[in-house]
């Protein structure tokens, strides 16, 4: 029992520390006329961040990244905060799945 309590306490501390240490930066993106703006988004490598995606179009759009695999629907006229994991330096393309011919963009982690 004591061991269990200790474990839970340790886990709580670890999670708390992670939450304090992370405090991820907000990075805004806008969807308009079925395109992402900006279409190249620079972020700091190795740090989690939050994509704040505002869909100015009427219809919904789905943020769809292949690697890491992240999918998120943004209804028309809404803003969604999407927590992103820390990325290694590199390029991470994504599309709007509902309009993949026009809605294309890339996150560059450096």
């Amino acid at each position: 029992m004591t061991r269990y309590v200790t474990l839970v306490a340790m886990l709580a501390v670890a999670l708390g520390t992670a939450a304090v240490a992370a405090d991820p930066a907000d990075i805004p993106i806008v969807i308009e006329k079925n395109r992402f703006q900006p279409d190249v988004i620079k972020v700091k490598a190795g740090a989690p961040f939050v994509l704040v995606i505002t869909n100015k179009d009427k219809g919904p759009e789905e943020f769809d990244m292949a690697q890491p695999r992240i999918e998120k629907v943004i209804p028309g006229g809404k803003t969604v905060r999407l927590k992103m994991p820390a990325l290694k330096p590199g390029k991470y393309p994504f599309v709007g799945e509902y309009h993949s011919e026009t809605a294309k963009a890339t996150i560059v982690a450096e």
């Binding site: 939450a19 919904p60 292949a66 890491p68 992240i70 629907v73 209804p75 809404k78 994991p85 799945e97």
Partner: protein, 279 residues
């Protein structure tokens, strides 16, 4: 039109396969009275999908940020549990069903749990349903603006084609021998559930703070999971061209555990047929 056809066909394909298999299974065990559970499960699944599609447009703030993810997670893991249970159940039946006693299976015994097939149909439809509804609705918004009617026709045709495929599975199942139907669908359901489980475990966004895992191999050059064929394999058996360690690990662990559960046990103490046929 072509693109939306492919998207909706892919989204609806898995649901129609599951529903087709469950109907086929009920037909095989002569439990047609269970059809209504499946039908209701499917209808409620469509209703819930439309409901979520509408709800999402009224949500905002933190509820919109995490709400749909929580629903997706619950539905994925519920579907894994139900499909596993279904495979186990079919397996139990398959043990008793041997050739000439086939038609003597006790219907009442099966009926005790028939409502569960309704739940399976529900989760099968609901899982991709909300996304399909949102997708079609997005097309509709454009169609209203004067363009995109062709796309809408493509989307509707995709859902219809998926339904036809599900019916094909059901119909085709009638001509296959019972043990064969059971073993093929059990294997398929295991792979499908393994893919779902791996998909559920491998989503980094559900924790957000965890670093993204690197893919441990990349077979995009051979078959990308974004291509049409790769997309189908992805829906069917959870194919990934760039899987991460948690995804591959979850897939294997699921298959091994369920394999042991279903097959590696020794034959259970034989239940006398009299027990089976007693109401």
């Amino acid at each position: 039109m072509g693109a939306t056809f492919v998207v909706t066909l892919r989204e609806a394909f898995e649901a129609s396969l599951i529903v087709g298999i469950v109907y086929g299974y009920l037909e095989k065990i002569k439990a047609r009275r269970g059809y209504r559970y499946v039908t209701w499960g499917g209808v409620l699944g469509v209703g819930a999908s439309v409901g979520v599609g509408i709800a999402v447009t009224y949500l905002s703030g933190p509820l919109l940020d995490v709400g749909p993810d929580i629903i997706t997670a619950v539905v994925i893991f519920a579907a894994v549990g139900l499909l596993t249970w279904h495979a186990w159940w079919m397996q139990q039946h398959a043990r008793f069903i041997k050739g000439e006693v086939q038609h003597r299976i006790d219907e009442a015994r099966a009926h005790n749990r028939l409502w569960v097939v309704g739940l399976i149909a529900f989760t099968g439809v609901f899982r991709e349903g909300a996304e399909t509804v949102l997708f079609l609705w997005g097309i509709l918004a454009q169609a209203g603006a004067g363009t995109g009617w062709g796309s809408l026709a493509g989307g509707v045709a995709g859902v219809s084609a998926a339904a036809a495929l599900g019916w094909g599975i059901f119909h085709g199942g009638q001509h296959v021998s019972l043990p064969r139907f059971f073993s093929v669908t059990t294997a398929f359901i295991m792979l499908l559930a393994a893919g779902l489980f791996s998909n559920g475990v491998g989503r980094p966004q559900w924790l957000g703070v965890l670093p993204a895992s690197e893919p441990i191999w990349n077979t995009s050059w051979l078959l990308s999971d974004r291509s049409i064929a790769g997309g189908f394999l992805s829906g069917l058996i959870g194919y990934r061209s760039q899987p991460t360690l948690p995804e591959v690990g979850a897939y294997l662990v699921y298959l091994i555990v369920v394999w042991v559960l279903l097959f590696a046990r020794r034959t259970p103490a034989s239940v006398p047929l009299a027990d089976l046929t007693r109401p």
